[in-house]
Symmetry: C2
Subunit: 233 residues, 2 copies
């Protein structure tokens, strides 16, 4: 059965989108290799068949699934013979809780650092759209946002502490082997290294840096295989 994943395309073939990386890594975890269709911000009509405008969208035979969590649940339920993304019902519930922390804790702490870099990273056709939507969201110009970078980087450090504590006691968030919660958190760092030539992690943050390197090595270096900056792992 044909698997097609629609994900975000940026300039120079970069693929920074965190939810798209969650879907890519979840598919790899299940041993599945989708055909990739990459679309620009201003090409959302290409996923209109999914009933909404955002990526990722997965087409799996007759099924169309949007939203990275929906895709993860679909893969877990429809491919039960492959390695689990959640590790049981308790794991699914708590991975969803972790997903909300990533979306409403980790990514909001990273976004003001990375969004100004995104102006150069998005496809040239998307720049006007990107500037307009993000400046409206942050209530200031991307240049003003960039001027506050040092403040945002300092504020990121305590937000990372729960993850740091977990990875100080365990190789992966999910235990001895990585699973979906690891992909959720790693996707944020993959966004960073895709667009930003300065590492968001401090040199002395060895716990998080070691885990990030292990994540980059997974699935034959899948996350390393795309265009990104060497500065971050």
């Amino acid at each position: 059965m044909a698997l097609v994943l629609y994900e975000r395309l940026c300039a120079d073939d970069r693929r920074p989108s965190p939810p798209c990386w969650c879907a890519r890594l979840a598919l790899a975890h299940k041993g599945l290799t989708p055909e990739i269709q990459a679309i620009k911000f201003t090409e959302s009509d290409r996923v209109a068949f999914s009933g909404q405008t955002k990526v990722p969208v997965l087409v799996d035979g007759q099924k169309v699934i949007h939203d990275s969590w929906g895709i993860a649940c679909h893969l877990e339920d429809d491919y039960p013979e492959t390695p689990s993304l959640f590790g049981g019902s308790g794991g699914r519930a708590l991975t969803r809780m972790f997903n909300h922390w990533v979306d409403h804790g980790l990514l909001p702490a990273l976004a003001p650092i990375l969004v100004p870099y995104m102006l150069a990273a998005v496809h040239p056709d998307d720049r006007a759209y990107y500037r307009q939507t993000r400046e409206a969201r942050f209530g200031m110009s991307l240049e003003q946002l960039a001027l506050r970078r040092a403040v945002f980087r300092e504020a990121l450090d305590p937000v990372l502490e729960p993850l740091r504590q977990r990875l100080a006691e365990s190789s992966f968030v999910c235990g001895e082997r990585p699973a979906y919660a690891d992909y959720l958190a790693f996707a944020a760092f993959q966004w960073a290294r895709s667009v930003c030539d300065v590492d968001v992690l401090a040199p002395q943050d060895t716990t998080l840096r070691l885990w990030r390197r292990c994540m980059l090595d997974l699935f034959g270096g899948l996350a390393r295989s795309v265009e990104a900056y060497d500065s971050a792992g």
Copy 2:
């Protein structure tokens, strides 16, 4: 076999300690009723037999377990016939991740609001100890901390967002039924209502308020059964 739980005693028989509530609720989840031994901050010699100075400490027959996470794992492993606290291996790993978020995200956001109230709440014998240790931790007097309360309350709101998102889609953090991750988060609110006559949740925060009420109702109203302020559920 005799079960004894050592927990923190405060003034007027109050029991605000979050990790002690995690242990109490985990025991109730397993259908176990321990004998409670309540000790003041300045009575840590009473748990010296555990090889450390903090509560909770659980004595289960010949076994002595300290630290709320250690106690939860002990109960899960030694009472496998009773309802699970984690819901499988994935659930245990992710509950531990959630535990770190509570300890390094939620509780640090609540602490500067609640610590000034604690001066009145701790046992009179502990007040000098409490003031000294907490003023050293925050680098200011408890009175100065109290003056900034409005700032800390405003900062709490976004920290709660991941929990709010989860509870908007599910009755409990752990799904249809509460389990250890719910106790971890609820214990923070139980601390608040044990010591503070103003609700830390806004009146319009209906999602979190409803969940908190359900948590208070569990196990025959166990968490309601202790001395607390009515203002918060």
